[in-house]
Structures are given as C-alpha cells and as structure tokens.
C-alpha cells in the first residue's frame, strides 16, 4: 500500500483520482447531474486490496440507488480499479445543502429549479403556509406557484409559472 494512495499490482491510484472518475457517473433520474453534484458520495477509502465508495440515499425510497451503485462499480472497474465495494449509509441524512454550486447551475439549465436554501419543510404546523417561490427555469419569472409538494421523483415538487404558464419541477430543499 502506497502512503500516497491505493495500489493494485503495478498501478497506484490516489483517492483524488477516484473522486475524479466519479465525476463521470451521472444520476440516472437527472442525468445532467453527477453523483458528486448531488452530494451523495460521502467518502472514498481503501478496502483490503480495493476501494470502498460510501454513498447515501437522497430519500429512503430512492429507486436509483442500486443503479447508482452499479454505475460506480462499472466506471471504476473500467479504469482498472478492482475490487470496488459500494456501501450505503443513512446518517447523517442527506440534505440539499450538499449539492454543489455547479450542480445547481446545471439543474436550472436543464429546466429544474434548484433548491432554495433554508426553505425545508421542518415546521409541520405551518399548514397552507406560503411555499418557496423558485424562479421559472424557462422564462426566469418570479411569479410562480406551487401545484403539488410531490413531483415526478421524491426529491421534486411540481410548480407552474404564472407568466409563461409552463409547468416545471422544483428540486425541494431537504
């Protein structure tokens, strides 16, 4: 084992290199985002002769976790890293605060309004309270309206722009 990284036979790979490789693993439900943009990769460490990647789900029922696990293994193995183990942890629980700045920009360009920090639904007493007002990712208008707290995936809410009338997804602050 090299002090500077992990070694496989003649090959020496640093954890930095593995983080770099993970930049090309995308989220299957929002393909413009990488797993790093989403903030779901928590740790990369050596594991026996191989490497362990620790991930955390966005929501408990996220159906993409298995697919993400396979994609990570496939990407690293394609680059000669073997064996790869992917471990899932639940704590600390995922938050949109871990989403990268780059990821937020990419979301908006893709047509999904990025999460507005500090607007997570902590106060359950606040029934019928005002929902956060994301800018319309299509026309940029601020005049938008919540249609439903639940959208096309667990992590999104459904909105409609009151100016251009287009519906859009908002990535919920979680």
């Amino acid at each position: 084992m090299d002090a500077a990284g992990l070694s496989w036979g003649r090959m020496v790979v640093t954890t930095d290199k593995i983080w770099q490789l993970l930049e090309s693993v995308s989220d299957p439900e929002i393909p413009v985002l990488t797993v790093l943009d989403m903030g779901i990769v928590r740790e990369v460490k050596s594991f026996g002769d191989g490497v362990e990647v620790v991930i955390t789900p966005t929501y408990s029922g996220c159906p993409a976790m298995k697919s993400i696990e396979f994609s990570i293994i496939a990407e690293l193995e394609a680059n000669g890293i073997h064996p790869v183990k992917v471990t899932t942890v639940l704590s600390p629980s995922w938050t949109t605060d871990w989403m990268s700045e780059e990821g937020r920009k990419k979301l908006k360009v893709y047509g999904i309004a990025p999460p507005i920090p500090g607007t997570n639904a902590k106060r359950i007493e606040a029934l019928f309270s005002e929902a956060p007002q994301p800018e319309c990712p299509h026309c940029g208008a601020k005049n938008t309206k919540l249609v439903s707290q639940f959208g096309s995936t667990a992590c999104k809410a459904l909105y409609q722009c009151q100016d251009c009338k287009e519906p859009f997804d908002y990535f919920k602050c979680h």
């Binding site: 789900p57 408990s60 029922g61 629980s93 639904a121 359950i124 019928f128 639940f150 096309s152 979680h174």
Partner: protein, 268 residues
C-alpha cells in the same frame, strides 16, 4: 373486523426468548406499518381523482416502502440467518405481520385514504421524533432519515383533512364518515404490547404513553379546524401488533406476495 373469538391479548407471534429477538420483533413492528400502508397507497397508482394526487399518494407510498426496506435490512442482519429483506416481506403469512389494524384497512374512497393517512402520519411523526433518541444507533439513524420525509406526509394529509372537512357539504359528509369508521382503529398505535414494554425498558423503544396525549391533542386540533365532529375516545380495536389481523390483510398480502410465492427467488 374479525377477532376470531380470541381475546385481544392473544398473541399469534413467536415469543421473544432473548434480547436480539425482541429487537428484531420491534424492528418488524415498525417496518410492517410502513410496508402495509405503502402497499395500500400503491393501489391508487393510476386511479386517483387527480394526476397530482396520484403522484402524491404514490410518492408517499415510495417513501414508506423505502423506510420499511431500511428496517427489514436491519432485521435481516440482526437475525443473521442469511434471509434477505425480500424474504421477510414476501414470505411471511398474515399472522406473522405486526402492523396496526389501521394501515391494512381498505382504501374505500379518497376520504378514507386521507383520513387513514392523517391518523397514521400524526402518530408516525411523533413516534419517529422519539425514535431518533433511541439507544439503538441504527434505529435512531433510520428515524432521523424517515422524519424528513414524514414532514411532507403529515402536511399533505392534514391539509386535505381541512380542505375536505371545511369544503363542500358532500366532501364534509364523506370525510366525517371516514373519520367515524376509522376512529376505532387509532387507539392501537399508542397502546404498548410486550415488545414495546421490553424495548422501552432497554432505552431502545419509544414511550407510547408519552406520545398518546400528544397524539390525541394533535388529531383533535386538526379535526376541529376541519369543522369535523370528534368521536368518543374509546374503546378501540386492537390486535394487529400481536399478529391478530382483520380479514383485509390476507387479501393485501395475496396480491403483494403472489409473485415470490409462485416463483420463489424470482429476480429481474
């Protein structure tokens, strides 16, 4: 509701002879509520009164089933016999299920579905808040994760209770009927069985006695805001947590389990 002539304290479940088994039983008791309600809500997929509601109900189902998976995985690890989460979910008979009677009640109409969801969400929110303080680290972690999702559920169901109750004459009548009919089942959630008592004494389980007054306070507060009549508090049906279920659970399991029963170990 059938009690099969047995006294409410009869237990169909295998008694726990050690601490590990008690913890497994407790984990299953929590997980089964989530799975069964998740399965019930899934029945709405493609049938809800509006597209947004269809999406909302199935999103909530997904959260609940995801939470139950985390718990079943833990139970399977504790058991250490090489069984998987799927074996536990798909290969147990109804008398081995520990969910409360409320969650297995049929969907009936949208009002019943919302009332059932509301009665459960208020409990679940209080329960998981307490479970985050459990001495069992894994249960505490699962609770912390789940709680963030339940915040959305309880707002959804509470708002719909108020909308329907304080809505039209027809919506008011329908939700009142659902409240009256389902009321019989809400007491069981905060009644302790042997597993609850043992886990509470070990600092792992939630103190349901502490939750009970908070539960009824919250439920009554929302019912009042929804301009609905509050039924009398007792007596309540119970038995689900001890494996004594209504006739509805068997039908639900038949639909949920038939594939794994017909083709054991099937994967795709």
């Amino acid at each position: 509701m059938q009690h099969s002539g047995k006294s409410p304290d009869t237990c169909y479940l295998i008694p726990a002879t050690n601490m590990n088994q008690s913890l497994i039983n407790y984990t299953l008791q929590i997980a089964d509520n989530n799975l069964i309600l998740g399965q019930r809500l899934s029945e709405w997929c493609g049938h809800a009164p509006e597209l947004e509601i269809d999406i909302a109900l199935t999103n909530i189902a997904l959260d609940l089933i995801g939470q139950s998976r985390n718990l079943y995985q833990y139970a399977a690890e504790l058991e250490g016999k090489g069984r998987s989460e799927d074996d536990i979910a798909y290969l147990r008979d109804s008398s081995r299920y520990r969910n409360v009677l409320l969650v297995e009640q049929p969907n009936e109409d949208f009002a019943y579905t919302i009332a059932r969801q509301f009665f459960f969400d208020v409990y679940n929110h209080l329960f998981y808040q307490e479970l985050t303080k459990s001495k069992d680290e894994r249960l505490a972690e699962i609770a912390e994760k789940s709680l963030k999702e339940i915040n959305y559920h309880i707002r959804f169901s509470s708002e719909w209770m108020i909308r329907l109750g304080d809505g039209t004459k027809l919506s008011h009548e329908k939700i009142q009927t659902a409240v009256d009919d389902l009321w019989d089942f809400i007491g069981e959630m905060t009644l302790l069985n042997d597993t609850d008592r043992e886990m509470l004494s070990n600092g792992i389980g939630v103190d349901l006695n502490k939750i009970r007054p908070l539960y009824f306070q919250k439920v009554k507060e929302i019912l009042a805001e929804a301009t609905l009549n509050i039924p009398v508090e007792e007596p309540f049906q119970k038995g689900g947590k001890n494996g004594i279920h209504s006739e509805f659970l068997g039908h639900l399991l038949a639909e949920m389990q038939w594939m794994q029963r017909a083709y054991p170990g099937a994967e795709w």
